[in-house]
């Protein structure tokens, strides 16, 4: 027994020389990171909860529903009208499909149709007009108007409340006036000949309601706006009288708001019908693969490493900046002066003149060395003022030429042609 721990220790020491401690992890564990960010998780939960509560509360308050929905109590709904009609013994059927509406129409009911999104096909509407005894079309689209009331056109919005009945239709007579917010329809001569009558005229512009007969002998009323039926506006002027007169003309009423299912079945097949069944799942799979590949490639391999870069400034910047300043201010004389000072100093030291030598001395010495006209040399070195850019370039070139010539005359004589340049630090 006493030997066992020793053996164990011995093997441990041979296998693992030195102490082995796991390296300190800098990445927090999942649990730690959740704990550290719990306040944010709390905030997120609170936000979600708030959103849910808000949604529920808002839904409870507004109720919502489609425009002119039979059970929509909102200002744009039509529940008020439906309730009133129901109280007066009218059986109201809330039809949401074409077949239901058609069935009701066959039973002799008045059909009120409001196709907000133009879902119902024109020929279906025409068929409904033929089948129904009385059809009230509220705010028809262009195509619907063509189909049921050829010759009647949209004519914009009414200018205000309408009290010119302008027709002998009893329903309209009873209403006597309509509130503001109506739309207008224009009835052309052909339509007038075909028996269409406009009521509630708005001056020259048109009528708010048009009455007429369909081919099958059924009565059709076209109301250009939803205003007379809306909960919010029905009590104004004669809106209620018109609405009740139109919708409550018979014992049965079919309140028909076409839904998405009523879209024309004869239309071209959709994309979904043409593609094989696996295309959509494969698309979904492709999206998932893209996300997975993105995470695979995007997951960072540990934190970024910061590098402390030393500051290194190109030394030529100062000189470049100064050159641009000269150029911008067209400081030709000043620029040329700089060149001349440099040239004079170099020529002076090449000709072994003292550093303090006067320009005249340097000019004459240079002229003597190059066998040039002293006045010309002096002009190059001091007198000529540049009058333009071309002049500046020319003078700079002449300076260079002069300097080179001075050096060339000395070249055979001196072993160091660039004696004037900075040879400081070299052994003589």
């Amino acid at each position: 027994m006493s030997g066992a721990p020793a053996v164990a220790r011995a093997t441990a020491s041979t296998a693992e020389p030195g102490p082995i401690d796991a390296a300190v992890a800098l990445t927090p564990t999942l649990r730690a990171s959740v704990r550290r960010r719990r306040i944010w998780f709390g905030f997120a939960a609170l936000l979600v909860l708030g959103a849910v509560v808000l949604f529920v509360v808002q839904g409870a308050v507004s109720g919502g529903g489609p425009r002119l929905g039979a059970d929509n109590p909102a200002p744009t709904g039509a529940r008020a009208l439906i309730e009133v009609l129901g109280d007066h013994g009218v059986t109201v059927t809330d039809a949401r499909s074409y077949d239901a509406a058609l069935e009701g129409a066959r039973g002799g009911a008045t059909v009120v149709i409001y196709d907000e999104y133009g879902l119902l096909g024109d020929d279906r509407l025409a068929r409904l007009a033929v089948v129904a005894n009385r059809l009230v079309v509220v705010e028809p689209g262009f195509g619907a108007l063509e189909a049921i009331a050829p010759g009647v056109r949209h004519a914009g919005a009414a200018t205000g409340a309408l009290d010119d009945v302008d027709c002998a239709v009893p329903t309209a007579q009873r209403a006597a006036s309509l509130s503001d917010g109506q739309r207008l329809l224009a009835v052309d001569d052909e339509a007038l000949d075909a028996g269409w009558v406009g009521c509630f005229r708005d001056g020259e512009f048109g009528h708010a309601v048009v009455f007429g007969d369909a081919e099958g002998g059924s009565e059709i009323a076209v109301v250009a706006a939803t205003t007379p039926f809306e909960n919010g506006r029905i009590a104004e002027h004669g809106n209620a009288a018109l609405a009740i007169g139109l919708a409550g003309a018979s014992h049965d009423l079919v309140w028909y708001l076409p839904g998405p299912g009523d879209a024309d079945a004869d239309a071209a097949p959709t994309l979904a019908d043409l593609t094989p069944g696996w295309v959509s799942p494969v698309l979904v799979l492709a999206i998932m693969v893209v996300i997975a590949a993105g995470v695979w490639q995007g997951r960072r391999f540990g934190p970024l490493v910061a590098e402390n870069l030393p500051v290194h400034i190109p030394a030529g910047e100062t000189s470049e900046g100064r050159a641009r300043l000269y150029a911008r201010n067209t400081a030709r004389t000043h620029a040329l002066d700089q060149l001349r000072i440099g040239a004079i100093q170099r020529i002076a030291s090449a000709l072994r003149l003292p550093r303090t030598a006067h320009v005249d001395d340097v000019a004459s010495a240079a002229a003597a060395a190059t066998r040039r006209e002293p006045a010309a040399v002096r002009r190059i070195l001091a007198d000529d003022a540049p009058t333009g850019d071309r002049d500046l370039v020319r003078l700079a070139a002449e300076l260079t030429t002069l300097e080179d010539q001075v050096r060339a005359t000395l070249a055979p004589a001196t072993s160091h042609p660039e004696a004037g340049d900075d040879t400081a630090g070299r052994r003589p």
Binding site: I20, A22, A23, V24, A25, L26, T27, G277, W278, V279, S280, P281, V282, L285, A286, M288, V289, A292, A293, V295, W296, R299, F301, G302, P303, V305, A306, E307, L309, P310, V311, H312, I313, P314, A315, G316, T318, S319, R322, A323, R324, Y326, A327, H334, A335, L336, Q338, L339, I341, R355, D389, L392, V393, A396, L399, D422, A424, G425, R426, R427
Partner: protein, 445 residues
């Protein structure tokens, strides 16, 4: 946690069952998709659960302490798996970019439990100074290699990258010249430091003024009866002089000239001068200063001097502050109270930035021999000579102005009794060494 490429691939393979099922109909295709996703998710979860923990790992490093810039470094990281499972790891050693890891910095190793593996990285540091790594990131994959666990572990490492000392190429020729100084007669002035060495026979070329007539009188020429042999005294260069090199690390040292920062040129020049001077038997001190003392090497000789100098230099970079020259005389006084050669390596090229230097120079020149070494920009000289079109003329004018400024500052420095050395970056170290040899030959130290 991180998915692998294999996970994405396996997910993508779901196309096959979905399409096959889709031939029967759309609902079957959706069912196949959901089924495939379930399979993949279950497989990934199992894989993740079976992956070894990337945290139960011990890390040890083997790194050389110092390396010269431009030389390769081998970094060895030993990873010891302390966990009970095989670690299928991909590892990244987070070296700084300027540490210059050669090749990809991702190493894959499979380490059985209790065993250890070495990870060898070749580095070629790109900058001098301390190149560091602080962490190692380990990504541990499961047996199916669908998902991996990832953790970053602390594992600090450091390599001190020393200045390259390229200018040591100039050292042999200067040492030769230094040896030539031995036994030569000083030309004109025998300074205080010049020491009498020996007396030998005159040979052609010796300065006649160093003929020792008393010694000549004692040496009769055996070949010519009654004739004398001319004897001359020889001198050997002074020894045990003190040299204080002051490198300016202020904002002007950050300027890059001919693709080398002024500071690096200053280091090269300091190293060459120090190597030469320590061979010549002089004592060298090094100071790096801007507004405060950044580095100091004092009292080292021989090989130790260079080692300590490069070590001090390695960590010092130029700072964007104006140099405070007022502290320099005090620092020099602290090094030595005797006469010394003080070498100031700075940028003496514009009157504005040299004002501080000029104001303290008299304090230094009154006691010491002062050399101000500065880098000249060869680009300026080139620019001042090309005058082809208008832009170039303006540029030449600006360059001339810059040269002129530098010339004026140099003249001012010389008027204050200091010597100047100005040369292009690659020529400054030998130029400074030559100036030192000159001073030594003339016994002015």
């Amino acid at each position: 946690m991180a998915p692998t490429g294999r996970f994405a691939l396996v997910l993508a393979l779901g196309v096959v069952p979905v399409v096959v099922a889709g031939l029967a109909g759309a609902p079957e295709a959706w069912l196949a998709l959901v089924g495939w996703l379930l399979i993949v998710i279950v497989a990934a979860s199992v894989d993740l659960a079976l992956a070894a923990s990337p945290r139960r790992v011990a890390l040890t490093r083997e790194l050389p302490d110092r390396v010269r810039l431009g030389e390769p470094v081998t970094s060895v990281l030993t990873v010891h798996n302390l966990g009970p499972r095989t670690l299928r790891a991909t590892m990244r050693d987070a070296w700084e970019p300027s540490a210059g890891v050669i090749g990809p910095n991702r190493t894959a190793r499979s380490i059985p439990p209790g065993e250890r593996r070495r990870i060898v990285l070749d580095l070629l540091p790109q900058r001098r100074g301390d190149r560091r790594t602080t962490q190692v990131t380990i990504r541990s994959a499961g047996p199916l290699r669908l998902w991996s666990r990832q953790a970053t572990l602390a594992s600090p490492g450091r390599v001190r990258v020393l200045p390259p000392f390229h200018s040591r190429a100039h050292l042999p020729s200067r040492l030769t010249r230094l040896r030539e100084l031995d036994g030569r007669t000083p030309l004109l002035i025998r300074g205080q430091g010049t020491e009498f060495d020996s007396i030998r026979e005159y040979v052609r070329g010796d300065d006649v003024r160093s003929v020792d007539w008393r010694a000549t009188a004692r040496h009769a020429d055996p070949e010519v009866p009654g004739g004398m042999r001319l004897m001359v005294r020889t001198w050997r260069p002074e020894r045990d002089r003190r040299i204080v090199i002051v490198a300016d690390t202020s904002r002007t040292a950050a300027a890059r000239i001919a693709d080398e920062p002024r500071l690096d040129t200053a280091y090269e020049a300091s190293l060459l001068l120090a190597a030469l001077a320590t061979h010549a038997g002089d004592k060298v001190d090094f100071l790096a200063t801007d507004r405060r003392l950044r580095g100091r090497v004092h009292g080292a000789t021989g090989p130790e001097l260079l080692a300590r100098m490069v070590d001090t230099m390695a960590g010092i970079d130029a700072e964007l502050v104006e140099a405070d020259w007022a502290i320099v005389p005090g620092q020099v006084r602290r090094v030595t109270s005797r006469h010394a050669l003080v070498v100031l390596i700075t940028a003496a090229d514009s009157p504005g930035s040299a004002r501080g230097l000029l104001s303290v120079l008299p304090q230094l020149t009154s006691r010491h021999t002062v050399v101000v070494a500065s880098v000249a920009d060869p680009a300026l000289i080139d620019a001042s000579r090309s005058r082809g079109d208008l832009d170039e003329v303006y540029r030449a004018a600006a360059a001339e102005r810059g040269l002129n400024d530098a010339e004026r500052v140099g003249a001012a420095i010389r008027r204050l009794g200091a010597l100047t050395v100005t040369a292009a970056p690659h020529e400054l170290p030998p130029a400074l060494a030559d100036r030192y040899l000159e001073l030594k030959a003339s016994g002015k130290l």
